[in-house]
Symmetry: C2
Subunit: 191 residues, 2 copies
């Protein structure tokens, strides 16, 4: 779409997910960010394809571009963590995935999580003191981890962008773009 | 099976679950406790049947005996919380379910949770200071909630019994029976 004027041209964005990701929470932000001119890589904990979850049952698969243990946070301008009940439940048990998330969060570059995606942020130990939202089922876990949980479509706090459900995807995608433009230097300067 | 000598004869046990319960974690403890002579009721947050999850896909359904908002903790000698990634994720957003769990935990009667089942205990705010186990993916959430998390097949601490995965079900079922016999008076005395 031309409405976003390719404002993310030259930016590289990672989406980290595995089987059970909520389909729309990966494919729609990916499309929105690509429409804005970014190159988007899907990172995962196994090669091949990862299987989406479409609301109440298994959905479509998405091709994995790189294994997360072979990817470098320094290669990306932003990181997106989709939800789905099963996806972050797997990711949070994978040490390279959690190390990648922790290093990215600490780099100060935009890191965006939707629905159950913030479970991975809890596991990485990076939520303390931040204002965040999430799917309501995990709000107690975020508060116990030291986050200030609020019920809003999208919350941006420092380099963290969080949203609640698939309904919030348009606001989530816009906030990712805005935060990249505000916080992350163009790749040409960073490399 | 005759091996357990109907040692739970006259005892009434509630299993609280909803769609997405890990099938074996409901059906096998239920069968084991019924084999030991107990009457077991399945409580849920909707009427009819609840749909099981069998490792990697939807499995068989189980009949709901009572809605949890119409059930009384005082009617039961023990409460069992199966896992499955989706089941406690739904339950923890349901106020009557969480009130039932909290009241049961505080009653001092045996409360047993396996796999992701302890998420419901976190939501009820009853894990602080207790030694517990769980599916490994939620161990950080249990620790953040104040539990002392350990990696063992079954852990009994006061009236709390916890296990990790379907492999632990035999030990889990035995610990439930033992804890009922130790802690909970026969229903004839309680009523």
């Amino acid at each position: 779409m031309n409405t976003q004027n390719h404002e993310l041209k030259g930016r590289k964005i990672a989406i980290l997910a595995t089987d059970g990701f909520e389909q729309s929470e990966l494919t729609e932000p990916k499309q929105n960010l690509e429409n804005a001119g970014a190159k988007v890589d899907v990172l995962s904990i196994h090669e091949g394809k990862i299987k989406g979850w479409n609301k109440t049952d298994w959905g479509s698969s998405v091709k994995v571009d790189h294994l997360v243990n072979e990817a470098k946070p320094s290669d990306y301008d932003a990181l997106v963590l989709p939800g789905g009940v099963m996806n972050p439940d797997h990711l949070r048990m994978n040490k390279p995935a959690i190390s990648f998330v922790r290093e990215f969060a600490q780099s100060g570059k935009p890191i965006a999580a939707i629905c159950h995606g913030p479970q991975t942020l809890i596991e990485a130990g990076v939520v303390k003191g931040h204002t965040m939202t999430s799917y309501p089922s995990i709000h107690t876990d975020l508060m116990n981890a030291g986050a200030n949980w609020v019920d809003r479509a999208v919350v941006t706090d420092a380099n963290f962008i969080t949203s609640r459900t698939p309904d919030d995807i348009p606001a989530f995608s816009r906030a990712i773009t805005q935060t990249i433009l505000q916080l992350s230097p163009p790749l040409a300067q960073a490399s």
